[in-house]
Symmetry: C2
Subunit: 359 residues, 2 copies
Amino acid sequence: MHTLDVALGARSYPIYIGQSLLEQDLLRRHIRASQALIVTNETIAPLYLDAVRQSLSGLDVNTLILPDGEQYKTLATLETIFDALLSQRHSRTTTLIALGGGVIGDMVGFAAACYQRGVDFLQVPTTLLAQVDSSVGGKTAVNHPRGKNMIGAFHQPRAVVIDTTVLNTLPERELSAGLAEVIKYGLIRDADFYQWLEVNMDGLVARDPALLSEAILQSCRNKAEVVAEDETEQGNRALLNLGHTFGHAIETATGYSDWLHGEAVGAGTMMAAQLSADLGWISEADVQRIGALAARAGLPLAPPPGVTAAQFRDLMALDKKVMDGRLRLVLLKAIGSAVVTDQFAAQALERLLEKMCQH
Amino acid sequence: MHTLDVALGARSYPIYIGQSLLEQDLLRRHIRASQALIVTNETIAPLYLDAVRQSLSGLDVNTLILPDGEQYKTLATLETIFDALLSQRHSRTTTLIALGGGVIGDMVGFAAACYQRGVDFLQVPTTLLAQVDSSVGGKTAVNHPRGKNMIGAFHQPRAVVIDTTVLNTLPERELSAGLAEVIKYGLIRDADFYQWLEVNMDGLVARDPALLSEAILQSCRNKAEVVAEDETEQGNRALLNLGHTFGHAIETATGYSDWLHGEAVGAGTMMAAQLSADLGWISEADVQRIGALAARAGLPLAPPPGVTAAQFRDLMALDKKVMDGRLRLVLLKAIGSAVVTDQFAAQALERLLEKMCQH
């Protein structure tokens, strides 16, 4: 088992990475009082809920099983979590346990941020995407019909327990979606890791346990470093959003139901890379190189046919990185180096959208 | 104009108290970018919305008018605030302005805490209760059918602008409700202020402007001191909840629609005082003295007839101060001194409820 620390002073917490961790007593160690609510979804419950419940035997544990999918990451679903907590009389010393992918983690984290103005929660991510990205760093949220993650809070978990064994049951599309965020860390700040991914992508897709474990460890290390430096995204944390402004527009335009978040981020990353090349910041060869790696990861390289340039324009104008009316994007200066910038001609973005979208 | 400071390091902010402050440029001074959304209710809008809008002329200002009443302090109403923000494309640098009483302040503050994971907000309290209590200290929340303020966040405003002139239009019941929280500060930590209130209560009820201003100043000073010492209620901030555990049960039992919050707190304070006397901590004469002051303030001295002892038991078990199954209450050790404690016999509480409730 590897242990990483997210260094945030009084809010610091460990990330545990290893095999069969659900069967150990790691969760119990981080439960402050006697109550806990496990929130999971109908896909994960039959697979892993029993193991988690057993690891907590003796405590006063309730469970809540939600429908599966990004389209349920809403205020309405959040309300069912509050209903469960109150009807089962959970007090301010309770602990919420998010057992699932990014949707469960974001939503349970936000419920924990708001319930009685803040209770403890633990992340038990069951998708590669959640293990390498969304479970670490305390960003929690639900979606709004007009925008992804528009309602949320910064609320750090007490611990993240990453059991790599659960990846054995992960659908192929979900694996690819997670790899989009893994590639992201290489692109924005870790050229060595990017090269390692080029060497090992086929093994990762084939689910070699040692390679997956290394990819998760390096991703979480990168994430923890960025978050420790900028917890509430006043600056460099925004680099973690490479491909996300485009990706969120894709997700919102398609009603959060067609593509997985990681797939949208994959296509969005190619759009950001192409714009970076159009601006002369990276070479077309770099774009090809990124496209080749994303293709090997099984990711889409362009937005879905149904999403128009007009939709991108409209939805990106609502991005959380907009400042005083100016859109800011994460763009590449090299493979391994990114910037958050509004220093690009509006026409360059316009040409990119015309080039990459159908009409 | 008086200015108090709520000393919270990087989150410090001023409280301005004075006459006709809405007509000055105080709000504009604390607006970071060009966008703002004023949220108010249908009672306050015809009275003061124009003045606030005019003080912000030249900025990009939207307004949202909500229905008036504690029964609208819900997740559903919150959603209408998010809808307004997104449909009018407010970015993360926007400022929300809460123009109204405690319901508006709590709800707009919570919307600001969650919108894009946190934006600025300003408190412009228009009731005495909001001016002396809820607008200061960063507690934000909405109610749940099963419990008052169960969903919320700690999110400090950037400034609190208390225009005492607005009290001229305040209904009498609202004035009494505010006085319940004013009396609270005297009871929990400021015996001198309590004596001052005994001398000046009739003038306060008659709305003597100088007396009201002094009462607001002393209340806000007390509140600011408590909050600066314990922002997130790990300890002594809970003393501000004198009468509130009983009061919240009254509000929840009656569907948040019969009594004003301050009226419920007034009755709750008498219940807490009586329990303190039953435990031998204060004298029956003290209880009489508190009852006399509350009566002069126009406050109810006992819970409404429809609320039963069983309802109190049931609803108080969900109080946010419950720890590991044990109810904690704010009780009096003297006039001017309170404690948060679970050191009282369950039977004592039981006898109190039997004595003070109808069946």
